[in-house]
Amino acid sequence: MRFINRHPGRGNQLLLALLPFILLLAAYFSGSAARLQDNSDDKLLPSAAQMAAAIDRAAFREDRRSGEYILWNDTAASLARLGMGLGIAACAGLALGIISGAFPLLRAGLSPFLAVASMIPPLAILPILFIVFGLDELSKVMLIVIGITPILARDLEQKAREIPRELFVKAQTLGANSWTLVLRMMLPQLCCRLFISLRLMLGPAWLFLISAEAISATAGLGYRIFLVRRYLAMDTILPYVAWITLLAWLMDYLLRQINRRCFPWSEGAET
C-alpha cells in the first residue's frame, strides 16, 4: 500500500499524538536529572518537584513582599490587557474590513494603506508608541491593537470581496440600499470569518502582550517571566509558559464554540 493511503488505527492515532509530548518530556527530564546530579542548585532545567514548589509559591501563597497571590494577579492583569486589545482590534478590524470590502470608492483609499500598515513591525517603532500613548496600560493595549488590526481588516476585506456578486445584485433587486446590504448581508457572513481570523491572531496577540509587558510594567505574565529571567528562575518560567499555553488554547476553544453556536451554518466552510 502506498504511504499516502495508510491511516493509523484508533490506538495508534492516540499513541502517535502522545509521542511528541512524551519524547519532549523524556528529553527534558533526563537532561534535568543529569544537570541536577552535577549541581543540585542548577536552575536551568529544574525538576518536576522544583517546578511544583514554584507553582505553589506563585499560585497558593501570599507573596512575601507584596502580599498578593502573584500568579492570579499576573493572570488578571494580562487577560484584561489581552481582552481589551482583542476586543478593540476585532471591532476596528471588522469595521475597516467591511468599509474597504464593500465600497470601491473607499477601498481605493484604504486598501493599499492597510496593506502597507500590516507590514510595519510594531515592536520596531516602540519609542514612537511610547510618546503617543504613554507608558501605562494604554500603550500595552495599543501595541496589540496596532499589531493585529490591519491583518484582521485585510483578511475580512478579502472575505467580503469573495461574497458572490449575484448576492449583491439579488439583494438590490429586492430593494436593499447600501446600509441594509452591509447590515443584513455582509455583516453576518463576515462575523463568522472574524472569529476564525481572531483565532489565528491569538498567537501574535500574546506575543505583543508579552513584549509590551517585558518593556515596562508592574504586573502581568510577561512581566513576571522577564523579571525572574534576570536570576534564571526557570522553575517559575516553565510553569508560566505552560499556563500561557493553556490559556491561549482555552481562548481558542472558546472562540470556536462561540462561532459554532452563533453561526452553525459556517462549520462546513471553515478552513
Binding site: N12, A34, L44, P127, F130, A217, Y231, L232
Partner: protein, 359 residues
Amino acid sequence: MQNNRLSRLAARVTTLCAIGCLVAFSLPAVGESKKSFNVCWTIYAGWVPWGYVDSSGIIDKWARKYGIDIRITQINDVGEALNQYAAGKFDACSMTNMDALIVPVVGGVDTTALVVGSYSDGGDGVVIKGKGKTLKDLKGMSVYLPELTVSHYLLARGLETAGLRERDVKVVNTSDADLVAAYDTGNVLAAVAWNPQLMTLKARPDTMEIFNSHQIPGEIIDIMVANTRVLKDNPALGKALTGAWYEVMAMIKAGNAEALEAMAKSSGTDLASYRAQLKNTHLFHTPQENLVFVTSPDLIKTMRRVAQFSFEKGLLGEGAKNAEAIGMSFPGGVTLGDKKRILFRFDDAFIRMAIKGGL
C-alpha cells in the same frame, strides 16, 4: 501486517528517543583540565577594556604564553550573559558583584572574582525631572528602572540615606534598552540608569541627578568572574586573563590614544564621551591598587549589604532563611555567611602574582 507496522513504529520511537537522549546529554558537563576556554563580556564602561584585550590580540599573546586558547565573546544582553555563564557555556564572564551573587552563585556555580576591575563611581544614578529636587521628593512617585539589578540596589541605598523605604515609592520594571525612550514620555518623572544611558538622561533638559554611585563608592563592583572549578584545574586561564588585563590597564593609565580610541569605538561612542564615562568608573590601574581594594574590610561590609538586599528581594533562593544562606570568602581566610556552603570567592592570589611579576 499489523505486526509489521507496530515494529516499525517501535523502531521509530527508539530512534526518536535516541535523538532526545543525545540532545539531553550534549548539554555540557564541566570538564577537568582543558586547553580552550570561553569568556564573555557585555557593554559597560568598565568592561570595554575586555573588548580591547580581545581585538588587540593581547589575549592571544598571553594565552600562547601558557599554551592555551581563549575565546572572548561579546554578549548584547547582560541578563543573557549571566544565564549563559551560570549554565556553563562560559568559563568566565564580566558581571557586577550583585549579579554574580544572585545568578550563578545562587544557582550553585562556585564562582571566583578573578579580576575585580573597577567600581561604579557615578556611573549609576537616580534622575528626576524638575529643579531643586532631592531624594525626599521621590516619596509617592513611580520610579522606572530595571528591577532586581544594581539600579534597584542604588535606589534602595539612596532611599535609605533619605530616611525613606522602598515601599514609599512605586518601582516600575523597565528594560535598560528601553529606558531612554521611556524617559522621554510624559509619564516618567523619575528613573534609575547606568552608563551610557545615564549620560543620555542627564543631558535631557529639566532633568537633575539626585543620587549616584559616587555616594556609595565601592559598592557596585564590576568584576570578571571565573568558574572556581575550572580555575582550580586550569590556573593558566587565571594567569592569562589577569596578565592581559593589567597590560591594558597600563595602556589606559599611560593615556594610550590608540587603545582608548578603539575602546570608545567598541562602546559605540567617541573618545570624549568614553573618557567621560571612565571618569564615573573607578578603574584599578595597577595590581597594587587592586590589592588594597580586595583586602579591605569595606569589601566584606559591601557584600554583607548586597546579600541582605538580595535576601529581602527573595533573590537568595527560596530555601534561604536569612542573608547568611550563602557563604563568601575573602583574602586572608575571612568568610561571610554559611561556612559550609562557600560559593563566592574573592581571591588575591593572581593579583599578588601580578605584583611580583610572576605572570
